[in-house]
Symmetry: C2
Subunit: 297 residues, 2 copies
């Protein structure tokens, strides 16, 4: 491999350093690349509107995602899977970036941490909480497969991905020429990087999870970015193509997958008895706003 490499490019150690020189080396590979760049330049630059931040909560290894349409005059923003412990951090960032937080969204009823949704609503009452209707939880807005959540001129599309829990959904950035490319899928615990959520609680089903991931996530373009609700090994992002090729569970056939999931021998989730009751009301024991079923419109 090294030999082939050395033949194709003059990559001796020192030739890679053009010390104190502003002009890139021009060789055949470079010229080929210039042509490539020219071709690529004709594509639309589609991410100018989206401000995106990935945020990590260390105790539960949870990722919270901040998305905003910063090209819109109001800079409307949403948070996906906020955590109670990091609400102040998240709201400070929203304020510093000059965003208007309009939604606090959950991918599902988490069992390992308390959602930040309720706390956010107490601090910013205009924010609306969102969760799936299938989760049987309370929230300001209950969504279903096919719904679109608009923020400015960007939107998330809702895909039902049950299996980790009965009400799990995946939020995917829009499929339009004016939406970010590549698309981004916020998969919750349905699909993790080189893994997936457990299926032994909260209406979980290995059969359903397998079908969900294959029909709703692996059907997206291969370059689609996968942003999960957790990572325990320090990965921050993957792609549909990568998981289709390297996910150690979901590359197996369904029978093998079910066998893997049945034999995980995981301990009882230590936070489940606190987290689930709280998260069933989006972190608000006394939710003052009557739930609205958006999907009926």
């Amino acid at each position: 491999m090294l030999r082939i490499y050395a033949l194709r490019l003059p990559l001796s150690n020192l030739s890679l350093f053009s010390s104190h020189s502003q002009k890139p080396r021009l060789n055949n590979n470079y010229r080929t690349m210039m042509n490539y760049t020219k071709a690529a330049s004709s594509q639309a630059f589609k991410n100018k509107k989206l401000l995106f931040r990935q945020l990590f909560e260390k105790d539960s290894s949870t990722y919270t995602y901040l998305l905003a349409d910063v090209a819109h005059p109001e800079k409307p923003a949403l948070l996906i899977d906020p955590v109670d412990k990091t609400v102040d951090r998240d709201l400070s960032l929203v304020k510093e970036l000059g965003l208007k937080l309009i939604y606090a969204i959950n991918t599902h009823v988490h069992a390992d941490h308390v959602t930040g949704t309720g706390l956010i609503k107490t601090k910013v009452p205009s924010v609306k909480s969102i969760i799936s209707k299938a989760s049987k939880s309370k929230a300001d807005l209950l969504i279903e497969a096919g719904d679109k959540i608009h923020f400015g001129d960007l939107f998330l599309e809702v895909r039902a991905t049950p299996g980790h829990t009965l009400g799990c959904v995946t939020y995917v950035t829009g499929d339009g020429s004016d939406q970010p490319q590549p698309r981004m899928a916020f998969t919750g615990d349905a699909l993790l990087i080189r893994g997936c959520g457990r299926t032994d609680f909260q209406g979980g089903s290995a059969h359903q999870l397998y079908q969900s991931v294959h029909s709703q996530i692996f059907s997206l373009p291969k370059e689609t970015l996968i942003y999960p609700a957790h990572d325990y090994r320090g990965f921050t992002v993957s792609t549909v193509g990568e998981e289709m090729q390297y996910n150690p569970r979901l590359t197996k056939d369904e029978e093998m997958f079910k066998s893997i999931m049945e034999n995980l021998n995981l301990p009882y989730p230590k936070m489940i008895d606190i987290a689930v009751p709280s998260n069933m009301v989006c972190g608000l024991q006394d939710l003052s706003v009557k739930p609205v079923d958006a999907s009926s419109n």
Copy 2:
């Protein structure tokens, strides 16, 4: 604020959901945005070549960065600030993505963890270790301000940013029309998100750090992305503009900054006596490859 918002866009909760509909709502704001998108589309789409991954090591809260030119036939890649504990994870990812790792680079001699550079070299002997000449460490390649580190047709430019340690450098993606935009600055511990590294060990100097950040990092375009070596609160990225506005230390004048840094009362770094001697030889106590001074060429 909410009133103004409601006046400008019909953002009642339900109107934001176009349930089961593929066609975005068309209103005046949307049409304005379409014009914006058209204008934005004329800009070059410059990130097609770069594969970028941010990786986290939880014990020391260290970020490792993987960059590769995936448009190049050899997919040459480099790792910035790898950690010994996560070398297997990083090398697996490199392999799965079909990359050819050519460099393992440090921003400085870390005091809180052992670099993964040495371990990487034992596993992939063709990889070259890189650190600054000013660090007085051993490595395959010793770099200085103004040097460029090429990988495929992309490159990193080296900026000297001493102050946390004597030999700290910041690596910045190239300033060319064929390089990623916005630029990305890998700042090590010189500039952290809403913070900076301590200045009381390893030749540290609050005066130098203040000058380094202001002259070498805050002089970059405001949209430049800041990727630090650590974050302890779950942030993953910032921008030059954000830090110029909100960094609680580096927005102060130099005297105030020095006063802050002199009164941090931080404990003695628990890993320093193990990490520094190891990192002075890039994780290899018996470095078989004679150091080469790239800057002399």
